[in-house]
């Protein structure tokens, strides 16, 4: 039976069918649902959220060396975090089969860059597969196991947002028994010291020659012959777009195994067509290698190298065809930017912070990134996960040295703190800057859709786990000045900022309140109670000053005609941040 599945669901199914026994990941769009779906095979696969991608990859490497088939998955930028083990594991090779799934995000639907991770395969010298739909996402995880064990290499499976998140039909297969090889101590293979690695590197070069031979022979790289005027070399989702544009008017060399590239196969294909096109999303990864092999081709001189491709972009770039569209005036359409939810515990924090002068707010990645948007504007920078604290430290050191009165305020979420913020805070302590670190603990990994983390008290499968408390953790790292506050109380926030600004030592402010969308655990119930209620505006008291719109709550509207504020009953949860902002006390809890 065929089933509609996303690429992520299909890759998870592939892990199950391939007899994988261990999988680890850190969430990140568009990869998150791979591990979430693997976790449904509770009997068959050990599946774990790691605190970051490096840890996830290393845990999977441990599982592979112990003899099990293993998988790690992460978004493209996660591979940067995991790059250190990736490169040396490229040298050692595997015991049990091992696949690393990297999900790239062309077009940056929800990412800070659109790096092309195919270069990682070439750089780390590991084999690479690129699925173009859900069926291939499933089948290639299985193929990855064969290749990994057959050639003693880790396999990088590179997916992209459209493959991860599109549903296409999949023919399900049978589960093969979990394959567990014996563990044998082997220092000449797994002890990456210089003397060993010099030999491993030589062996690796030979492995790549063998893999290239495989690449030329495997059916993962196949030809579809049609008209021979145009021949197209393509891979991943770009293959689907090329088919959409050219249909049977061109021949295709569809590559599923893209490192090492099948150079002989490409050369032979090229010799049989009049014009050779290379159609790929983002960088000219294939084109560069094809040109270096002396095969003339047309690629990025016409196909854009920035942003996500689609059939229209290709049709325009390659054929000069533009589709007819309805013309109309869209200037009246008002943007609909994502916003902090009504009742989000981050809102009050940013509202108070936005009032401060002479601060540089080093932000981080998570829902709290939205604190930088209109009308709060409480953010100066965002680079990558964990960077807020380290950047805040560096900036503060410079401000202090040059006697500027600026203060650096780092803002980071709980999951991001566990991810890489902890090391950064250790640096602040060790090198003694008085930067201010604010950890917004909303008791969950919010942005990526509510994954558990070391602070929430649950595992990926929802089983009880130890709750790692942030305040004692911060103290153990060497911070003496810590305050934990309720971010729904603006006076508490103000007092904490006043206090922190005065200090010459590093300070940490922890805001502790659950994400408004979080399903409360028993522990949450005990700690936070059933706090949800409703606020309303007394229109007789409202003077139309608009101050209540400053925190930017989507449940609160201001009517320009009546000059009054009003609150949407469906969205409001009664956090009362707006009530504290109102100078006339016109906003109250309903019923009071």
């Amino acid at each position: 039976m065929k089933k509609l599945m996303t690429g992520d669901e299909a890759a998870a199914r592939g892990a199950y069918e391939a007899g994988i026994s261990y999988a680890a990941a850190y969430p990140g769009t568009p990869s998150t649902e791979i591990l979430e779906n693997i976790a449904l095979y509770t009997e068959d696969i050990i599946a774990e959220w790691a605190p970051n991608e490096k840890v996830a990859l290393e845990a999977a490497i441990g599982a592979s060396i112990a003899g099990a088939r293993a998988l790690a998955s992460m978004k493209h930028v996660g591979v940067n975090v995991a790059a250190d083990p990736l490169f040396t594991f490229g040298y050692t090779g595997v015991n049990g089969g091992m696949v690393l799934i990297s999900t790239d995000d062309p077009g940056m639907h929800s990412s800070q860059n659109e790096q092309d991770n195919r270069y990682y395969a070439k750089f780390a010298k590991v084999a690479m597969l690129e699925p173009s739909n859900s069926q291939e996402s499933k089948d290639m995880v299985k193929a990855a196991m064969e290749i990994s064990e057959g050639f003693d290499t880790m396999v990088l499976m590179r997916m992209t947002t459209r493959v991860c998140h599109s549903k296409t039909l999949v023919e399900l297969g049978e589960k093969s028994e979990a394959v567990k090889k014996p563990y044998v101590k082997n220092l000449q293979k797994f002890d990456a010291v210089p003397a060993v690695c010099r030999k491993l590197h030589v062996a690796l070069e030979q492995k790549l020659i063998d893999l290239e031979k495989f690449s030329n022979e495997t059916e993962l790289n196949y030809t579809e012959w049609n008209s021979k005027d145009i021949g197209i070399v393509t891979a991943g989702i770009a293959y689907q777009y090329a088919k959409e544009v050219y249909g049977e008017k061109a021949s295709y060399l569809k590559l599923g195994f893209t490192y090492p590239l099948p150079v002989d196969k490409i050369r032979s294909f090229a010799s049989q067509v009049k014009y050779l096109y290379v159609i790929e999303e983002l960088e000219p990864y294939m084109e560069e290698q094809i040109k270096a092999a002396g095969i003339p081709c047309i690629g990025k001189d016409v196909v854009p190298r920035t942003g996500e491709l689609n059939p229209d972009i290709l049709a325009k770039a390659l054929l000069g065809v533009e589709r007819e569209v309805i013309r109309y005036d869209d200037s009246v359409v008002v943007p609909r930017p994502p916003v902090l939810c009504a009742g989000c515990p981050h809102r009050g924090f940013f509202y108070e912070l936005s009032k401060r002068k002479d601060i540089m707010i080093t932000g981080d990645i998570g829902c709290y990134g939205l604190g930088g948007m209109d009308p709060l504007y409480a953010k100066d920078t965002c680079i990558c996960m964990g960077a807020s604290i380290s950047m805040g430290h560096g900036a503060q050191q410079v401000f202090n040295r040059f006697n500027e009165k600026m203060r650096a305020v780092a803002v980071i979420g709980d999951s991001t703190f566990f991810h890489t913020g902890m090391n950064s805070l250790l640096n602040t302590v060790y090198n003694r800057s008085n930067s201010i670190t604010c950890i917004l603990d909303n008791r969950i990994t919010g942005m990526t859709g509510h994954q558990e983390n070391p602070g929430t008290g649950f595992t990926l499968q929802g089983l009880p786990a130890k709750i790692v408390e942030i305040e004692p953790l911060v103290r153990a790292l060497g911070i003496d000045l810590v305050k934990t506050v309720n971010p729904l109380r603006l006076d508490e926030l103000k007092a904490a900022f006043d206090w922190a600004m005065e200090q010459t030592e590093p300070t940490v402010i922890i805001t502790r309140w659950p994400c408004v969308l979080k399903k409360h655990s028993e522990h949450d119930m005990k700690e936070f109670g059933d706090y949800k209620s409703l606020c309303e505006v007394d229109t007789d008291v409202c003077i139309g000053c608009r101050l209540c719109t400053k925190p930017g709550c989507p449940a609160l509207a201001f009517d320009n005609e009546s000059k009054k504020a009003s609150i949407d009953k469906i969205q409001c949860i009664g956090c009362q941040v707006c009530a504290q902002v109102c100078p006339k006390k016109a906003i109250r809890k309903a019923g009071n």
Binding site: R162, G247, P311, D312, A315, V332, C341, D374
Partner: protein
């Protein structure tokens, strides 16, 4: 790929566009079509604009469409129709839910909700306007707005013969099946 049909569903995070497209895809798959459905996750939960695309036919390649390519645009919110109208074929159809969700710049009084959107659109294309919100309230569950719109879409596409009852049963929780079947019927009859 002339035999491939394209449907674009647009709305605001939380309106249930995804469930509607799931039921739609399920029905199309059981009728034997090749189906591809694409949605972009990410910021949807934070009140952003959301879209889902469903393509079906004998064989579908790309999971996404470009401008000027949708046969039907189903819009769960009035202003969103205008945001995505460019994606409609010039002879395509629009199903509009007569429902406004002002975005934050409008709520805070900085911008105005556009006026006369439905009139503008009706002058350019074949548009069906539905009070799905009101119908849903009459049915006793405001959340069924999405399935009412699905019914209207199925009618506009001439796909009424497919096994929608089974598709709804497959996609919604048992206790909501009856109400959604009613909602679907209500959508078919507007």
């Amino acid at each position: 790929m002339a035999d491939v049909k394209n449907i674009l569903l647009v709305g605001v995070g939380g309106q249930g566009t995804i469930l509607a497209s799931q039921i739609l895809s399920t029905g199309l798959v059981s009728a034997g079509y090749d189906v591809k459905m694409s949605e972009v996750h990410g910021m949807a939960q934070r009140g952003g604009s959301v879209t889902t695309q469903v393509r079906f036919g004998k064989q579908v390649h790309a999971p996404i469409i470009g401008k000027g390519q949708a046969d039907v645009l189903v819009s769960f919110e009035i202003m969103e129709t205008l945001r995505w109208l460019e994606f409609l074929k010039p002879d395509g159809k629009v199903v509009i839910n007569n429902h406004k969700i002002p975005s934050v710049p409008i709520l805070s009084g900085k911008r105005e909700y556009p006026r006369g959107v439905i009139e503008t659109i009706s002058r350019k294309v074949d548009a069906t306007v539905i009070d799905a919100g009101r119908i849903a309230e009459e049915l006793g569950n405001p959340k069924t707005m999405n399935v009412i719109l699905l019914g209207a879409l199925v009618k506009a596409m001439g796909l009424t013969e497919l096994e929608w009852r089974a598709a709804i049963k497959e996609c919604v929780k048992p206790k909501f099946v009856e109400i959604n079947l009613e909602a679907f019927k209500a959508g078919l009859s507007v």
